[in-house]
Symmetry: C2
Subunit: 248 residues, 2 copies
DNA sequence: CGTGGGGTTGATTCTTATCAATTCGGGTGG
DNA sequence: CCACCCGAATTGATAAGAATCAACCCCACG
């Protein structure tokens, strides 16, 4: 993971990875940032239904958006990795639709939502970029709907593993997945017991190996084939030439 | 597919339902519109993976976004009702992630996506509004994920019926649902045969009655209770005061 | 009259949930 | 260093839910 220079805003760092930022844009983004906050694994950043006036960039650790039903069942809506923006999805809404929770110890930078307004007024390029990021988030939600709606447990888990590896940008075949099987089940819409069985099945197939939260992919092609994984949804290009010309 | 001339812009009409539009804003929106097109039931507006440079407002009829998997299974991602914008979700992307299809005979107004740029430059209020509409679309996707991931067939169908009634703004207990059980199944992630059984079950419970695509809700409270329907996700308020003050 | 698409119903099979018992591994306190 | 504890993972047995396959009905439409 890359190192962030002292004193630099982490949203600038993240956005700077996507497009070239000029000085005005850097100042606009930096102005949003005030502090870095720590949360421990399991802690909640905000509750579902809360008045929510801020969002966060995730500097380190894993987090998730989760919704609990009346009968106690849970559905994980998103898993956030370092560099992502937590709560962006609800940027236009005054009240949160889901609860945000730390999955590991995390560092986040909170930003007040309302000041986004200033950005819209002063930089069309940044407006475009926010739209693009939202569009990508939606693409992930859609892929999740397809995964849950039309694939069986084995395919769902295989897809999830490939997605995580892709999102973590791992070239190595082994990576760390610091979440338990209950969270995985609530993400994929299956029970934690069945997650365990499905992992065993993938191990028996010789596709993966795993211990202590380390996942070793022994047959990536097999997983992709099995799950029908289509990587294009993670790398869609923006429609605006204004942005496209400066995409990294 | 045919083309017909049209007097009043339908996007102005739709947006005008949500907020008060001043003359500048009306002109900006009207400028996007060129024509009205007709599609017959079953016709495709665009294909998945296509280069997509436009979106549509739906004047009349029902349409859907649908994705077909490699093995022929299908997942319906959205059902569009009159007044909605088709393709807004992919507004920031150059290539479509799903295919759009007419479910009945429809009238749509196509708009070039790229000119959205002009709107961002010239009206912050409209920019806010587009963000709000996207946020609401996401809220519906999330509700769909919860529905598919954590509810059984009966609950899913009950939820779907209540959602449709709510979105159609029906005060009457009876309304028209011009889609077949195969589409409903592909929306809810169950087989069409099971949709039929589930309808029968809801009929046996005395919650609904139905013939010829007409649905009569005989026990709305029962359906809401059964499905855990929460209407707040369809009526979230915007975070920006600029918009809030002129919301209708 | 046929014909075809959608809907219904029954029989069977497959997948996954649920419940329960057991094991594993890491952390804690004596 | 060891005994214990606790949450997570595993495994087995059973039950529930939904898919699949197949037959049949209904009806709109040529």
């Amino acid at each position: 993971m890359s190192v962030k220079p002292e004193g630099e805003s982490c949203i600038v760092h993240q956005f700077g990875k996507m497009i070239e930022l000029n000085e005005t844009e850097i100042n606009l983004l930096s102005a949003l940032e005030k502090e870095v906050r720590l949360f421990k694994a399991g802690e909640r950043l905000s509750l579902s239904g809360d008045y929510s006036d801020r969002f966060y960039t995730l500097k380190s650790g894993w987090a998730c958006a989760i919704k609990t039903l009346a009968d106690g069942q849970r559905q994980v809506l998103d898993i956030f990795l370092p560099g992502q923006i937590i709560g962006l999805r609800e940027i236009g809404l005054s009240h949160s639709l889901s609860e945000f929770r730390a999955l590991t110890t995390i560092e986040v930078c909170p930003f007040p939502k309302q000041r986004l307004t200033e950005i819209f007024e002063q930089s069309v390029r940044l407006t475009d970029l926010f739209f693009l990021i939202m569009a990508r988030e939606q693409a992930m939600l859609i892929e999740r709907i397809i995964n849950i709606g039309r694939r069986n447990a084995t395919e769902r888990l295989a897809h999830f593993i490939v997605e995580m590896k892709t999102r973590l940008n791992q070239r190595a075949s082994e990576f760390h997945m610091p979440i338990n099987q209950s969270i995985i089940g609530d993400t994929l819409g299956i029970s934690s017991v069945h997650v365990s069985r499905t992992f065993k099945y993938l191990r028996d197939l010789g596709y993966i190996e795993k211990n202590n939260g380390q996942i070793e992919i022994k047959n990536l092609e097999g997983l992709i084939e099995l799950s029908g994984f289509d990587r294009t949804y993670l790398e869609s290009t923006p429609v605006w030439t204004r942005l496209r010309s400066s995409m990294k």
